[in-house]
Symmetry: C2
Subunit: 303 residues, 2 copies
Amino acid sequence: MLFDVTILGSNAAIPAHNRYPSAQVLNYNGNCFLIDCGEGAQFRMNHFGIKRARLDNIFISHLHGDHYYGLIGLLTSFNLNWREHALNIYGPAGLEEIIHVHLKHSQTELRFKINFHHLTADEPKIVYEDLMLTAETIVLSHRLPTTGFLFKEKKNLRKIIAEKITEYNIPHHLINDIKSGDDFIDEKGNVISNKELTLDPLPPRSYAYCSDTVYTENFVDQIKGVNTLYHEATFIHEHEPRALETFHTTSKQAAKVAKAANAGKLLLGHFSARYENLNLLLEEAREIFAESYLAEEGKIFSI
Amino acid sequence: MLFDVTILGSNAAIPAHNRYPSAQVLNYNGNCFLIDCGEGAQFRMNHFGIKRARLDNIFISHLHGDHYYGLIGLLTSFNLNWREHALNIYGPAGLEEIIHVHLKHSQTELRFKINFHHLTADEPKIVYEDLMLTAETIVLSHRLPTTGFLFKEKKNLRKIIAEKITEYNIPHHLINDIKSGDDFIDEKGNVISNKELTLDPLPPRSYAYCSDTVYTENFVDQIKGVNTLYHEATFIHEHEPRALETFHTTSKQAAKVAKAANAGKLLLGHFSARYENLNLLLEEAREIFAESYLAEEGKIFSI
């Protein structure tokens, strides 16, 4: 199953260096999730060939503008493109009022329904679930109530060994039970253990999005073993006091979180306008956590 | 005096072809006016090297998103850049509520004052005046109350002929009176007529911005003789029924307005997403009004 993330925006709030504010698209086998939606996110989707129409679920971490100012434009474009199927928006309750006020003044009645899922930043909650995935909130520590998001594959089924189906003449209707862990009992009453018939499944994959937050390891247990962690890394180490003051993180601190969580890899983003060149951010993270990468715009990371 | 306009955005509402929605910067000798502010306008300003800090007056024509969704991001950037001097916003009253709701949910108190000038689309009014210029509203016909804007230089002073100052020994403190039309009386009581001392001034220049509107010549008398007319030209002639239905204009109709107004030149903009190539829009306008140009992004037109 395809499971990757495309970076649409990598910059912090003050526009600079042709970087866009936070937005990314998580693609699970064609089902696309928009995570944050800074100004211009819809232009970036056009630019990187991601179809707006594939989005049914939008997750907004908090109500600082660089994380959601692109949302109203995206909704307007959906409407102008005659979208009729419902859209789910997961975010702070205030989003609903903001969108409502825009629509009121443009005298717009949307052709599609928006299901608002009001998120709070008090404790982790599963807020989305389908056959393959769940998404749960991560409680972050920022100036406004802010949630990250953890997307997890559900436990995969065991892999049945094709030759065993023939060898034991296993009927088709029992295959899913065996994949789920059942033993097989043949016509003569012999019990063939599940272990003989199947291989361990691939471990479920997961993606954690953590922006914006001051350095904290409070949520590390929740994301333990995550395959890919996106963590904000607004500042270099030298500017750690500024990070603390503004409730942001340095890339070193992000790397500490990745290490503590035993993450597979770390994506760094939400870069301050003061850095045109991002190499130092990356180098400082790699001193602590080798599998660190810059979440630069247009890059696609496989989970 | 420098008097030019830089096009930041040229597209209608649905994002396409890497074009941005409506926004332009009128520069009068360094005093910059932002006219409409579609999503991404602040990024375009960065891209074209226009300093945000030079803006003290922002004019918004109406509350369709492609004309103002970039405003809240721009205000946020002002604030993050420690702007402290007041900003004037001229636009429909609803803007104030929209901005207020955004600021409320991000718990932001701006460091600078916004003076809101609530515009109505019932009759033309002078809404801005300084030593050199006035700006007045133009009543347009669109689905929402919409005003265009006419920027006019004040009447220029007459040009004094340098040699005459020496010849008649004109004292310095009388120069401005003579530029304003006074005769000169020398020490012996001889009257030297103003006509002998001065040349006609350059005629005052003007710029009219007309977007969005259905085809109408209702405002032609107001903009008669305008040096440069920006007029929306959303559609080609073949799509005139669609223009009527959506309260927009074809480029031919825009050219008719320019001709009726005896404009110096016509800038066409607000292009529908359906046209990647804009040549036909331009050709159709030029059949009627030769001095027609595409208001493409990054272009600077001298008024």
